[in-house]
Amino acid sequence: MEPKLERQFVVLLEKKQNIVHKICRLYTNDADAHNDLFQEISIQLFKAYPKFRGEAKFSTWMYRVALNTAITLYRKSKKRIRTQDFDTVMFKVASEDYDNTVEQQLKLMYAAVKQLNDIDKALVFLYLEDKPYSEISETLGITEVNARVKMNRVKKKLKELLNS
């Protein structure tokens, strides 16, 4: 890749890295795995970047490549020792202004989302990122109707997980 293009890519990745980190937190359970997946997504984004023509927004394009890597391409390294670090296992509840009940509820919700399967996680992720159903369906390659049906099922599943 041309140095200029490479530089351009690194600047964009640095700016938008939060998207990748959020996906890593959803799909991994410890800091090592998080870094491992982050690296693999960065490599895949870099490899695909020369073909990025700007027909979509960089972030939209990034969601697709990053989710594809997390769901399909990423292979967990067997050598890694699982270190259960709870700070990285869970998403931290962001605001401290919540009262205890709300905070507890949010913690349970994050834990329930982590228990979903790979596809449901992707659905929830895109939903939380405020993506319209048209974009969710295009990213996953399913019809919009199906995306809505699946999302309703996920909501039901989350409710069951919270009540169990």
């Binding site: 690194v10 690296q39 399909t72 292979r75 405020d130």
Partner: protein, 215 residues
């Protein structure tokens, strides 16, 4: 669902809690080697092509040629080798074309479909080889039955009532040997690709639920 809306609001505030990697570190990171599923598929496919090609080379020595001649099998073997090489080239071409078609920018379902297609190409090649192995083993054993002096001698002894082996016994033994060989190969593939493709297949199935049209 109220909880999910609550989560959505909290989600937007997550950014402050996320790790941050500086540009110079990202620059190093993107040049590291990928360890993706497609890379594994490529490596294993190359090994498979080499293995089956190697098997053909190993069985083409002068000694084998001589023994094949004595079994009146030499010319058939040359024809089979030519067929084998053409089939190999065909599969390598198909594999290369399908592999190049894999794009991380495709939607998730299409990407999975393309990876499965690449794997299927190699699977067909393996099935071809196993069938080839099976058919040629039967052909060689039939030729041995008619022309191999040791086998002939063994059968003559048994026909005289002195030996323990009958022609049926020999056929059954050979068939059992071939079946065991095929089962071992099949189990090996099941295990190898079971581990490698399990997650992809599970996710593909999940995406395809309620989906009637094709991508």
């Amino acid at each position: 669902m109220d909880e999910l809306e609550l989560l959505k609001q909290d989600w937007k505030k997550q950014d402050a809690n996320l790790p941050y990697i500086e540009a110079n570190k990202l620059d190093v990171m993107i040049h590291k080697r990928s360890a993706s599923l497609t890379k594994w598929i490529l490596i294993i496919a190359i090994l498979e092509f080499i293995f089956w090609m190697g098997l053909n080379v190993v069985t083409s020595t002068k000694d084998t040629a001589d023994s094949l001649k004595s079994l009146h099998f030499y010319k058939i073997n040359i024809a089979l080798t030519v067929l084998n090489c053409s089939v190999l080239l065909f599969f390598i071409f198909r594999f290369y074309r399908n592999y190049r078609g894999i794009q991380t920018t495709d939607n998730a379902r299409m990407l999975m479909q393309k990876i499965l297609k690449v794997r299927r190409t190699v699977n067909y090649y393996v099935i071809y080889n196993l069938t080839f192995l099976f058919v040629s083993a039967i052909m060689i054993m039939t030729a041995m039955y008619f022309y191999d002096p040791t086998v002939k001698k063994l059968l003559e002894i048994s026909e005289n009532g002195q030996g323990n082996i009958t022609s049926w016994g020999l056929i059954l033994l050979s068939a059992a040997f071939i079946i065991v060989l095929l089962v071992v190969f099949w189990l090996f593939y099941k295990l190898l690709y079971g581990i490698l493709m399990r997650r992809l297949k599970r996710n593909y199935k999940e995406l395809n639920k309620y989906e009637l049209d094709d991508c």
